[in-house]
């Protein structure tokens, strides 16, 4: 009798165990990944890196593509901004739908004009001593995200760390910190420096044209005076000559090059 009763209970026990297993399984699935958002002080680092390839141009070809050549002294390398609507790092939602690859880093470099070598008619007339801003594109971004934003980007590994002093906000909003002033369109990774740098006090001749950079995710486009080419920036030597960063060019006659700028476009 007892054994019969026990035997009749086995299906119930088996059924209960199966249901328990199923509930456990469903619970585990429901909880999967939810741990990421538990600790609001957990942060994840995100860098945006990349690189550009430029047309292989001679100094003369660079000059012919320019609208203006000016000799300047760098007075200030300003904080970089991004091609988003407000110049700041986009939201995780925007990144989720548009990715990071269309982000462009733009760095305003304020210069004091020493002379204008040549310009097309539509280019601005710049007086000696006048302040002017050129904008350099390219570079890498380093930012700190909170765990929710990181999870939204598919980053499954986060790093516990102190919130850096240089990042504003309360830890829930992402901010952008450009790792170094970006003064040359070169690619580099977090912790390294660009190969060529424009620093305060540098005297250079730069060949410029006006470039329209498309805004990220429908943001307003950015129009700026930009070096035509990374090799279109010449530095003065101690002997007063002008040196190209392209080893194949060496010393160049910047006035002769500026003469190649067509007078009108």
């Amino acid at each position: 009798m007892n054994s019969s009763a026990t035997g009749q209970n086995w299906p119930r026990v088996f059924l209960a165990m199966t249901v328990a297993l199923l509930v456990t399984l469903v619970t585990a699935c429901a909880n999967y990944g939810s741990n990421l958002g538990d600790d609001p002080t957990s942060l994840a680092e995100l860098a945006v890196t990349g690189g550009a390839t430029y047309e292989d141009l001679t100094a003369g070809e660079i000059a012919r593509r320019s609208e203006m050549a000016i000799e300047v002294r760098v007075t200030d390398v300003r904080r970089s901004y991004l091609n988003t609507e407000d110049g700041r790092f986009p939201s995780a939602e925007d990144i989720g739908s548009a990715g990071l690859g269309d982000l462009a880093v733009l760095t305003p470099v304020e210069v004091e004009v020493m002379r204008t070598l040549a310009r097309q008619s539509q280019a601005p007339v710049l007086g000696v001593g006048e302040s002017f801003v050129i904008t350099v594109g390219g570079g890498a971004i380093f930012t700190v995200l909170d765990v929710d934003q990181a999870a939204a980007l598919g980053m499954t590994t986060v790093v516990e760390q102190e919130f850096p002093e240089h990042v504003e906000g309360d830890g829930r909003e992402a901010d952008v910190e450009i790792e170094v002033p970006v003064t040359e369109p070169v690619d580099f990774v977090w912790g390294s420096a660009p190969d060529v740098d424009l620093s305060e006090g540098d005297v250079v001749v730069v060949f410029l044209d006006r470039v329209l950079t498309t805004g990220y995710r429908g943001a307003t486009d950015f129009s700026a005076w930009t070096p035509v080419h990374p090799e279109g920036i010449y530095r003065q030597t101690e002997t007063g000559d002008w040196l190209s960063t392209d080893p194949a060019e060496g010393l160049v006659n910047v006035d002769e090059l500026a003469g190649m700028i067509s007078p009108a476009e």
């Binding site: 019969s4 035997g7 009749q8 299906p11 119930r12 088996f14 059924l15 199966t18 297993l21 399984l25 994840a44 680092e45 995100l46 860098a47 945006v48 890196t49 690189g51 550009a52 390839t53 430029y54 292989d56 141009l57 660079i62 593509r65 990144i95 990715g99 990071l100 690859g101 269309d102 462009a104 733009l106 904008t135 350099v136 594109g137 390219g138 990181a150 980007l153 598919g154 980053m155 986060v158 790093v159 369109p185 070169v186 690619d187 580099f188 990774v189 977090w190 912790g191 390294s192 190969d195 044209d209 470039v211 329209l212 950079t213 498309t214 700026a224 930009t226 070096p227 035509v228 080419h229």
Partner: protein, 230 residues
């Protein structure tokens, strides 16, 4: 002697067990299929062919930053880099040249690394497109790659974009394509002028140089299990 209700209970329990087993097996299969084929971790400590300006052992120490085995260069966690050609690639006649560009890296099947070209847009690939707009904020940039990297130097899959400018010859696009796909792979510029990853471009650069192969091996190694000699 079993009663009718006991038999019915056994049937219910048996069905539940079958369903649960099926769910467990399905979840396991989905998990296995959706996980990376294998978690890839670069094994070398010396990244002198990978980092920006990398030109091998002759380079001054320190130029590779803080890269160590615990802080390796940027890489794809599963050694697969997925991408998708937007319609603009074919519309501008770049498709075959760009295929040649990525195959330059992929043609050695014995390496762990593989490019995978998706046939549709997914959330895990890099979108390759051709545009008449200025890219990377410059009027003379003809190729530009951007991608997200997390704190472990893993590429954030789906965050990347590779862009090319319109109106470039197919021969040049083949070279530039190989260069940009090299960036997507995780390799930075090289100072070696004959390398695909040299900062500039010239004819014939789509064929990998020794420096490029060294860089690829330092990040992704070799499927035969050894990391040296490649």
């Amino acid at each position: 002697m079993k009663t009718a209700s006991t038999t019915a209970l056994w049937k219910v329990a048996f069905r539940m067990a079958v369903i649960t087993t099926a769910i467990v097996v399905s979840v396991s299969l989905v998990g296995a299929l959706s996980s990376p084929a294998h978690a890839h971790t670069p094994k070398q400590d010396n990244w002198d062919w990978v980092c920006s300006g990398g030109d091998g052992p002759a380079r001054e120490p320190g130029n590779c930053g803080s890269m160590t085995s615990s802080d390796p260069p940027q890489h794809h966690t599963n050694a697969n880099a997925r991408f998708y050609f937007e319609n603009s690639v074919e519309a501008n006649g770049y498709k075959n040249s760009l295929i040649g560009g990525y195959l330059a890296w992929d043609q050695t099947n014995s390496h762990e690394f593989n490019f995978i070209r998706e046939t549709s847009d997914t959330s895990t690939n890099a979108n390759v497109s051709v545009t008449s707009n200025n890219i990377c904020g410059s009027s003379t940039a003809i190729g530009c790659t951007g991608m997200g990297v997390d704190s472990n130097n893993h590429t954030v899959e789906g965050s990347s974009a590779i862009k090319f400018k319109t109106g470039i010859s197919s021969h040049l696009i083949n070279d530039v394509g190989a260069h940009e796909f090299g960036h997507y792979l995780g390799i930075n510029h090289s100072d070696i002028t004959v390398a695909t990853m040299w900062g500039n471009i010239f004819d014939g650069q789509s064929s990998l140089a020794w420096a490029d192969m060294r860089g690829r091996c330092q990040v992704y190694g070799h499927s035969h299990g050894y990391w040296g000699g490649c």
